[in-house]
Symmetry: C2
Amino acid sequence: MKKYCFGIDVGGTTIKCGFFDTEGVLLEKWEIPTRSEANGSKILPDIAKAVNDKIAERGLDKSEIEGIGIDIPGPVHEDGQVDFAVNIHWGHVNIVGEVEKMTGIRTEALNDANAAALGECWKGGGAGFHNLIMVTLGTGIGGGIVVGDKVIAGAHGAGGEIGHAHVTDELTEPCNCGNVGCLEQVASATGVVRVAKMILAKDDTPSVLRGKNFSAKDIWDAVKAGDQVADQVAEKFGRYLGMALATYAVVTDPQLIVVGGGMSKAGTIILDYIQKYYRQYAFPACKEVEFALATLGNDAGIYGAAKMVL
Amino acid sequence: MKKYCFGIDVGGTTIKCGFFDTEGVLLEKWEIPTRSEANGSKILPDIAKAVNDKIAERGLDKSEIEGIGIDIPGPVHEDGQVDFAVNIHWGHVNIVGEVEKMTGIRTEALNDANAAALGECWKGGGAGFHNLIMVTLGTGIGGGIVVGDKVIAGAHGAGGEIGHAHVTDELTEPCNCGNVGCLEQVASATGVVRVAKMILAKDDTPSVLRGKNFSAKDIWDAVKAGDQVADQVAEKFGRYLGMALATYAVVTDPQLIVVGGGMSKAGTIILDYIQKYYRQYAFPACKEVEFALATLGNDAGIYGAAKMVL
């Protein structure tokens, strides 16, 4: 009888480990460092050791473990193969094959933003829903598409790379992906700072942001305080992201859109600006889609990775 | 042992019926009229009779029939419920429940554009692929999203309604959906005519289209003949559709994009204009997606409906 599973979230500096029961109760979580030296070749052995040690420590039998889900910061093919993952110095890696060999336990792998989407759908802001789009607003914009409780990995591991739609011809500097004018360049935490600077440069409208080295948090604080320039930034943010989400919605027609990532800590005011434009541009049948903030924070990845093997 | 299935494609004037073996060989096809009088209440009984009669005519036992797939021109929920279908005068209809009652055979239902996508993925331009986006360029723009050989119906039956992304602020007249500036308004067969008229009105550039009541076919013929205005129309068409497809591609990350519908009869020149802009705007991992023309023509629906029950 399978009672437990592991959800492992590999980041650039730490690996988060979660030990779950198969109902999705997080029984224990801990972290180990990400050793990215030697082309990241120590990462999977470290994960296998963490799993094997935990099983021994708890006096369990491997037959009680349903599986190990592992997410990493990079594109992952449906069969768990990785071609490259820059942040952890990986070239081609066969996550499933290597970890199964070292643990004797069935393993699945997926992209970290996809894991967050699956985790939020399972036990977070999207609990009870089966079809959703999750958008993660951090330094960049990540995303994950869940249809029928399963995340769409995509043919090239790029399912849910929703930060990279072309949304503006106003930029000249390239996005990290190499294209110019991506959603991520104007609606991520760094994106709203970029847009704010462009708006500030246009005229002399007074603003608390003027003359400061400000962050996305400063912008949303200024929006809440009624700052006129910050409101213009928020409107632009809402239009870019709301219209993009309306476009994504005609693809998979979700029940729910979940907004997470560091910038979502500004709260529901973010949803207000997004929804205003989403509802304007959405296809009629999709207009009433619900919006929710993510609730699992940094644990979304371990939840999603665990769900992957259940 | 289940050996056969039916694929039924309900259109505004005729119902196409296909009798298949479970390998997907079309053994027989025929048509019956769509009787949309009395709120379309005769349509499902007519389908049930067509199926029952065919089984009797061939001397088969119902235990040999795997199922009946039915597609209709309107949104269909995953459970086969329909809220409305304007073209066939339907309000709420429970396709699955009614047809199963009249035939005793398991029934599934889906939207017609989704059926076409599934059919092309199974036996048409997308045969051998498992993840694709199909775009149907007719009077409007329909679409279907296939992931893992299954079509995404969506939470409101609007999965694959890819004609209704907002792509331009240049229009003032509303789309059939009620929004303004949808892809369908500028890149369908009627859309390219609209765009051509806008370009012709701008200046006096000579064109074979000038002073005529032209169709989408006339435009593509003019493109092939080197007409300068028609080429501008084709470039605009390619940019609108290529950019939209690049945006859709970051959602499900398909292996293939299939282009069908009446306007696709203009041939591979259409793909050339779409791909030029698709490859410019697509996320790097998705840039090499293949493009293909649909090959099943008007039979795509019956193939996809049949696949739905297998």
